[in-house]
Symmetry: C2
Subunit: 396 residues, 2 copies
């Protein structure tokens, strides 16, 4: 009677959320310190002190009618100028304020972008493993998500599989690097080659394929020699969907942006489509106080070193125990090979050791589990004996 698709989306929680809810219950039963909850990508490191200081300064010094008032739909001009200048300072772009559209975080950036681009029946390709809400967002925008598997073990793009996924209906490709759930950063070589393939495909079918980069984890890399390639440097029909949720530990405040590459010939239409889609979806404008905040802390991050320490400790311990682990270059997720073919059964068995980890099946990739290690370092330390015992239980 009412919209059955949305009723089902509301009723059926994602398995990640299910596991998180199970964890809450289990913690009440046996004590929070005895449950090792690696289910959710919720930052455990607080926002940097500059965030709260800036919020209070803005509140104290701005005219409240202006501060709490509407900004233009695409966002405050000064904020957009700051964002564009910061991108230009880091990459080979020449964006201006009118290439930027401020949003309520990465999810909004994606739904707005997909609604701007897609017509009914259009296909969007992404690389598995992938963030499962991509499917929900694509379908709401009238499109269909097609997944292309990655190279087993490295989880870099597998171009043979990707070429098989391309079709005349392909309207866009979503990349997410550093990747949730694998933690892998796609190499510059891969991104250049991806751009060349898309260019060839676009020319063949005389209609551009857009490359969308979902970037909530861009700032979360742990080695000096790991850089996350910027898609606008390699491909003109490119759109960056950025969020400050993880880099500034502000996931509940919903602030991010869409950057549309001004090198694409149809830039004016695409940017207008973004404005129109934001309007039709009911976004009006991104929260003004958090827009003003970004003007002040655009180049700060929370203390990423905690995630690096967690990664190093967990990676060395798990490999020592005998696990096969994809070494993550970024984000705060680790992808580990399950010790039996069915990763769901493996994740179930991990629960017996109070380890809450998510089967890769939920990310479109069987045989692996995701460990979200954005937890307190003590949690890692206390969880290690359980990981050891879980491993040993398979070797008996």
């Amino acid at each position: 009677m009412i919209n059955e698709k949305n009723v089902q989306l509301g009723k059926v929680r994602s398995s990640i959320r299910e596991l998180f809810e199970y964890g809450k219950k289990r913690k009440a039963e046996i004590g929070a310190e005895n449950v090792f909850d690696f289910s959710l990508g919720n930052p455990s490191v607080p926002a940097p002190p500059e965030v709260n200081a800036a919020l209070k300064e803005i509140i104290d010094t701005c005219d409240p009618v202006v501060l709490h008032g509407y900004t233009s739909a695409q966002g405050d001009y000064g904020v957009r100028k700051t964002v564009a200048d910061h991108i230009n300072a880091r990459f080979k772009t020449s964006l201006d304020a009118d290439c930027i559209y401020m949003t309520c975080g990465a999810a909004a950036s994606l739904t707005i972008t997909l609604n701007a681009l897609l017509n009914p029946g259009d296909e969007v390709i992404t690389f598995a493993p992938y963030f499962p809400e991509y499917k929900v967002f694509c379908e709401n925008a009238g499109g269909k998500l097609i997944t292309a598997g990655c190279e087993d073990g490295t989880f870099q793009i597998d171009f043979e599989k990707f070429e098989r996924a391309l079709s005349p209906k392909t309207k866009a490709v979503i990349v997410n690097s550093p990747n949730n759930p694998s933690g892998v950063v796609y190499s510059e070589k891969s991104m250049i080659f991806l751009g060349q393939l898309l260019k060839k495909h676009s020319e063949k079918y005389k209609t551009p394929v857009f490359l969308i980069s979902d970037e909530p984890y861009r700032e979360l890399t742990f080695e000096k020699d790991v850089t996350v390639p910027y898609i606008m440097d390699f491909y003109d029909y490119s759109i960056v969907c950025y969020s400050y949720s993880k880099s500034l530990s502000l996931p509940g405040e919903r602030i991010g942006y869409i950057a549309v590459n001004n090198k694409m010939p149809c830039f004016n239409d695409v940017y207008a489509g973004v404005c129109g889609a934001g309007r039709a979806l009911g976004f009006v404008c991104a929260p003004n106080l958090f827009q003003q905040l970004i003007k002040k802390v655009y180049d700060k991050t929370s203390d990423i070193s905690v995630y690096k320490r967690n990664r190093d400790r967990l990676y060395s311990a798990l490999t020592e125990y005998g696990y096969t682990v994809v070494k993550p270059d970024g984000a705060f997720y680790m992808f580990v090979k399950a010790l039996e073919p069915d990763a769901k059964a493996f994740a179930e068995r991990a629960k017996e050791y109070e380890l809450l980890i998510v089967a890769g099946d939920d990310f479109g990739c069987k045989g692996y589990v995701r460990i979200a290690y954005c937890v307190a370092p003590e949690t890692i330390e206390r969880a290690l004996p359980s990981f050891k015992r879980l491993y040993e239980s398979y070797k008996k």
Copy 2:
């Protein structure tokens, strides 16, 4: 090639926005004090001091990981409990926290609700004059907006016209009282009768028609004897889309809620549909800091007396000059009969007197203009001679 509908929505500004942009340009030419801009419903009264005090207190006292972290998708439990309790204290409802879904303001409340309810081809009726974005929101949700005219002069619901608009395809009716743009408050008698009609229609076609109340202006009434009827008191299949934008002068911060009446038999499905639609549209959760703010200032408003003073001054002056004015009981809009049949031509002529007012055509109602009097009282005072001269120009 890309989504043409959203491109057009992004390119074609609403006439209200066009007029506002003209005003900015005109102010630069002849000085802001010489342009009388009544185009936008942007509150001129600051948020009450409790807002900034509470924001700073929350920032100072909450754990930043919790404060800036995700809430559940429907909103923080304590916040939803506060909202439900406050509604129950004012009206004949028994809502609990799980009837409330926190949103990024009224536009988000409406898009989420419409996406939860509508299937392709469903019709939504509203009463003209009406907020023009309703059409955009309905169409994005796959529905069609049908308008029913009001009684000329009073702008109360005209039930004959409404019955003609009803059809087997009617899925929902949107009411907006106090009304933008007329300022009219629909009477209790009207709301009771509307509920009876919808009940009869629902029984006839064996499928409920939902009544959606869009309530950004609920708190903006000016007389003790004017009360805004609460639809849940009269009709079970009812959903309230509320916003704090105007009552607390926070339009740029995007905070509001959806309240689903728990008396409707299909409550569980409708609430799940709301959760699913919020997820599919990319809302994730309403900004956490502003959710926490509402817990502290849910019963405050900015200084509404300024709008009352503006209304009284403007109403008495315009009627004295000879204008025919619909006396507004609430919101901060005044609907005035144009002095020639074509209200657009009248609004154009008003520009010659530096008066920026919007033709009713844009609200689905010809022959009238809307004056947004949420301006500084001095602006009203200085504008009055222009209104007088405009009137006289028609009597020559």
